[in-house]
């Protein structure tokens, strides 16, 4: 086997990508217990349910229906997302015979696949050096890492399709002529678009806007209109077949698109002069840091980004037009609240680094061309600039990315403890599928644990504390509590209360257990957790 330049470049990319995956898998390398916010729970449990039960489903199983029964606006009580993303994770889980690592790893691979698609596209258009640098810097993108950790899993994967979709159209357009063309690129573009909508509809709309802008820009520059009825017919057929493969979920995409449109009407035109949404509009739900350029990208990237943008605007080669179209489309998507489409506006910001980073790299490497030097020195200077970019990314971007990923969900109150996992497995094996489980014990601050226990046990779980404390249950509280508990399995969980070292909470629940549960059947008693069957 002869070592070729291509092999070396591929080897370097593989090293960069594995390094990125090493970083992105830090949250579950040492602690292989599921973690994440409510979104992460929903994605994990769909995949896990399919893998564990060895079947897929049309109607949502009870524990999913309890939380998400109305999320599909077209056909309630069915999956609200098209299933390929979750089924992919179920396949790896089923093949590996493990409930946690394969699902989280598949998600990490999907979430970082933007490094693959960006490397591929930039290498094709601008060569190896800009491609590998873009991919390397993107590995530390906090705008990608945050939503990945928050649980916006399918969306992360869907973003990786945008450069490929734009590339396919670019290839079809630029190679099109009356004598010959490469329709395979158009077919693949529509295939990727269809998969894109099956993975995450929000990003699909971004892809559509990107394609429209790219077409307009290329048409203005080249005055060429590729139109072949056979190519378009086959492409549309591919798209429609795939789009209709999951009719309930595709119906939900259409219904949701036409329903959601109220929340952006008050957007001011001054927004046009800002790149992203106003952080104040998301106070309490999204960290202000997420909206900060310096905290997410690093201020050091700004001069290179502006130089890169200037280079693209001045040079305007077809490949530059592609990059500009991508950038403009993201700007338009980020300002869609002006036409009343503000749902998940902040989420579109998470696509920023994908286009900012390559423009930054193009700008940095272009500086070398401004200097008048013999070619040998220019090459050395170019690699020097590349080394500088690597150094700056390692110095400014890596530490935040590393510490965020390494410390993510690194707290016993956030992840289930072994006793909670054990009782969840017991519930899965010893109760029927539509059984309601009420969990007593974890305080409201760690309510998330109750949801993870529901997820792990595939059983509906109610957070019990609310029935005792929340104002909405004030009237006839005792009656409500009894009615609520009837025929439930009651999990009394002292495992976290012990860690809290709050005697008052401990005593409150012990008293409750003594007064209300002592007469009922105790089925399980292990590791500070008891399970009762509450019957009349």
């Amino acid at each position: 086997m002869q070592i070729k330049r291509n092999h070396i470049e591929t080897g370097i990319f593989i090293a960069v990508y594995l390094f990125a995956l090493y970083l992105w898998t830090l949250p579950f390398q040492d602690n292989q217990i599921p973690y994440g916010e409510f979104d992460a729970i929903s994605h994990w449990e769909i995949a896990d349910y399919i893998a564990q039960t060895d079947k897929t489903f049309n109607q949502l199983p009870g524990f999913l229906d309890f939380s998400y029964g109305d999320d599909n606006k077209f056909r309630p009580h069915t999956l609200w997302y098209p299933p390929p993303f979750h089924t992919a994770m179920a396949i790896t889980s089923s093949f590996s015979g493990d409930r946690m690592v394969p699902i989280f790893l598949t998600n990490a691979i999907f979430a970082t696949s933007i490094l693959i698609s960006l490397y591929f596209m930039i290498r094709k258009l601008y060569g190896f050096l800009p491609a590998i640098l873009s991919s390397f810097i993107l590995a530390f993108s906090m705008r990608d890492i945050f939503p990945y950790l928050w649980g916006q899993w399918p969306e992360r994967f869907a973003y990786a399709f945008i450069p490929l979709i734009l590339y396919c159209f670019y290839m079809y357009y630029t190679t099109y002529s009356k004598e010959g063309s490469k329709p395979i690129y158009l077919y693949m573009m529509f295939l990727l678009l269809a998969i894109n909508v099956l993975i995450h509809p929000l990003v699909f709309f971004h892809s559509i806007v990107g394609l429209s802008i790219l077409f307009i820009f290329l048409f203005i520059k080249n005055k060429k209109m590729p139109f072949n009825i056979k190519h378009i017919g086959i492409s549309l057929l591919i798209f429609l077949v795939l789009f209709s493969i999951f009719p309930y979920q595709s119906g939900n995409v259409i219904v949701s698109f036409f329903q959601g449109g109220e929340d952006g009407k008050s957007a001011s035109l001054s927004r046009l002069f800002h790149w992203g949404p106003n952080p104040d509009d998301f106070r309490g739900s999204v960290s202000a840091d997420y909206f900060s350029f310096s905290k997410m990208h690093g201020l050091w990237t700004l001069p290179f980004l502006l130089i890169g943008l200037a280079i693209l605007l001045i040079r305007r080669d077809n490949k530059d037009i592609l990059m500009l179209a991508w950038l403009v489309s993201l700007y338009l998507i980020l300002h869609r609240d002006l036409i009343g489409k503000a749902t998940f506006l902040h989420r579109s910001l998470s696509g920023t680094a994908h286009i900012f980073v390559p423009i930054t790299v193009i700008g940095a490497l272009a500086i070398v061309s401004f200097v008048k030097l013999p070619q040998t020195y220019k090459s050395a200077l170019k690699y020097g600039m590349a080394a500088l970019l690597v150094g700056l990314a390692l110095f400014y971007n890596l530490p935040a990315a590393y510490s965020t990923l390494n410390q993510a969900y690194d707290n016993p109150f956030i992840r289930l403890n072994p006793s909670q996992i054990e009782v969840s497995e017991w519930l899965l094996q010893n109760t029927n599928e539509n059984q309601n489980v009420s969990i007593i014990g974890p305080p409201a601050e760690i309510l998330q644990k109750v949801w993870w226990m529901a997820s792990y046990s595939h059983r509906t779980s109610q957070f019990f504390e609310g029935f005792l404390k929340w104002k909405i249950y004030e009237e006839n509280r005792e009656e409500i509590v009894n009615y609520h508990l009837l025929n439930d399995y009651i999990v009394v969980d002292y495992s976290d209360i012990g860690l809290l070292q709050d005697k008052a909470i401990m005593e409150q629940w012990q008293l409750f257990e003594q007064d209300n549960l002592a007469k009922h059947k105790l089925l399980y008693n292990k590791g500070s957790i008891k399970v009762y069957k509450y019957e009349a």
Binding site: F28, D54, P84, F95, D98, V101, S113, I195, L198, L242
Partner: protein, 108 residues
């Protein structure tokens, strides 16, 4: 008529490195998950794309993204009627057969 992969020696080395890496950081289940991605999502899609006039890097990259969408979509529908695990293997067989069929049609 055979389905084949160009540069198989180099690709084989890369695959071994990748699998070893995941075995080291996440153990056997991590390695098997990556193997499943390569085997189920990428391989059948690669063989299908190999029938078209594409460069090898295009075939590899597109096979990942297309395979990750198409394979689970088919397997999901099988899982509605037969055990999911069996559905996975039938999906694999169907996609490999599709690659053969396209090759055969294109040769005629």
């Amino acid at each position: 008529m055979k389905l084949k992969i160009e540069n198989i020696g180099f690709i084989g080395i890369i695959i071994i490195v990748i699998l070893a890496f995941f075995y080291l950081i996440l153990g056997l289940s991590g390695m098997l998950a990556v193997l499943a991605i390569m085997l189920f999502f990428m391989l059948p899609a690669y063989f299908i794309l190999d029938n078209f006039n594409l460069e090898q890097d295009e075939k590899i990259v597109f096979s990942f993204f297309i395979g990750a969408g198409i394979f689970p979509s088919i397997a999901y529908w099988f899982g509605r009627f037969i055990p999911f695990k069996i559905g996975i293997f039938i999906t694999f067989a169907i996609l490999i057969a599709t690659a053969f069929l396209i090759k055969k049609i294109k040769k005629q």
